[in-house]
Symmetry: C2
Subunit: 293 residues, 2 copies
């Protein structure tokens, strides 16, 4: 998708939230806002929002003089969600439909943006998850039946991850997929380099995702996935996969125009995407891209 | 008050909303956003938000090559609210406390920003007014008892207006004040020049406010009131008035640090001001400045 004018105020909001969570003082925060402002006139609306996300991230990196300012936060996110793993596994164990339960947890896991809103209170986090509105009715924005059919038929499945912490929820889902269909080959792709709180190979390994799926780097250095920026292996897998599972809004924003068979799993985080999907901010989405147009 | 970093995304939101309501195309809207971005680095946080409001307004004026782009909208706002005058007068007639009723209408009139969200549906507007949460309990954010006491004692009252359209609500309130206390001298101040949808002398005259109070220009050319930018007559009145009634958030943002006896009547339109007041966005406020610190 292109960038909407409504995304511009949001770039500043995100930049400010990031600067604050990373513990900068007001002077540095103003400089970050000024630098984002300076980048706006040369940013074209034909680019996708995660491309601006990358620019904002670079501004923050420069201001903090750190190559991976979110490193510690990402590690804490991973540990935090790992500490909830047992509880979530029990939730799946006690459910009628293990796949649906794992799927829901994985999408809901995208709601809690551990990078942007890190409370580090496991009990509260799990309560938050249960409180959220989860509409699992089959419908245009929760295509569980299609997802299951697609999964049954697929041999090669490419899963594109999003945030640190959230990857533990994905691990649970992939475990269910592998339990149901042990013959499937599941590849889990993460970002090439640290960008905001997105998961990298280091994060995937630290939560043991490499024991559940083949973990690769997509080659992407933005908080999304633009095929022309990805590495050869990823592009080849993307083109040959029978099913692509794309997590989060950043991947949605960059892959929504692709013709391949993709299921987008995300929670809606802004009005622009809500509008595109006919949904509301906070909604959980499971949607096939053939259903987007 | 100073400008908070959180105001920066808002300047873009306001600029975009204005550009859209004034019927510009996306290309012009992007140019307006770029120009706002270019103005950010040289804007100091020690300035008040309405000073940036003025800069945004100038950018829009330049882009549209119009000296008063809101002129027609303001005229429609004035006519629209005038068409509701009879209904509102009846509402006051049927109330137990005419002053409280007039006061509430005047504050609620600040909710509906005719400049920013002009539906031009009188019936809907009046329904909107009744639907709104109006907490008239005496408390730190609705100091009706103090207001009434202050009014009783005052001889010279300076009323500082805000938006076109809204001024009709103020007219109703001033009529009640004059009915209760015919000996008070009420001066109603408006902006010197057209800025966004703020009322000017032309607007005040068009709704007949000059028949209810002495209407003057404050000399202000920003969507707020900075004393050092105001004309001599206004400053003298401000200093000698026994009571100042300040309408809207722009006047609050520029006058909140003044030591004179001011009652702020506004509806809270953003999180920053809500935070300052210990209120929520959408709340109606009647607060004496001595109670702010």
């Amino acid at each position: 998708m292109k960038t909407y004018l409504d995304c511009i105020p949001c770039f500043f909001k995100q930049g400010l939230a990031s600067a604050r969570i990373l513990g900068t003082d007001e002077k540095v925060q103003k400089r970050i806002m000024d630098n984002i402002a300076e980048a706006i006139p040369s940013f074209h609306l034909t680019s996708s929002p995660p491309e601006m996300g990358k620019i904002v991230h670079n501004i923050i990196k420069d201001a903090l003089q750190k190559d991976d300012p979110y490193r510690e936060l990402k590690q804490r996110s991973n540990s935090l969600v790992l500490s909830l793993y047992g509880k979530m596994k029990k939730e799946i164990d006690s459910s009628d439909d293990r796949l649906l339960s794992g799927l829901t947890l994985s999408i809901v896991g995208n709601i809690i943006d551990y990078g942007a809103n890190h409370t580090l209170q496991p009990e509260k986090e799990i309560a938050e998850i249960s409180r959220r509105r989860v509409n699992k009715e089959n419908g245009p924005n929760f295509q569980y039946t299609s997802f299951k059919k697609s999964l049954e038929r697929a041999r090669l499945i490419l899963f594109i991850g999003d945030n640190a912490g959230e990857i533990v929820f994905d691990k649970l889902l992939i475990e269910e997929i592998r339990e149901l269909y042990p013959d499937k080959h599941v590849v889990y792709a993460v970002r090439e380099k640290a960008v905001i709180n997105d998961a990298t190979i280091e994060d995937a390994r630290s939560v043991g995702l490499d024991r559940t799926a083949e973990v690769i780097s997509s080659g992407s250095v933005i908080p999304g996935t633009l095929l022309h920026q990805c590495n050869e292996k990823f592009v080849s897998l993307f083109k040959n996969a029978d099913m692509v599972i794309s997590k989060g809004q950043g991947n949605f924003e960059t892959l929504s125009d692709e013709p391949s068979p993709i299921f987008f799993l995300l929670t809606v985080k802004c009005g622009v995407v809500a509008n595109m999907l006919g949904a509301e901010t906070g909604d959980i989405i499971l949607k096939e891209n053939s259903n987007l147009r």
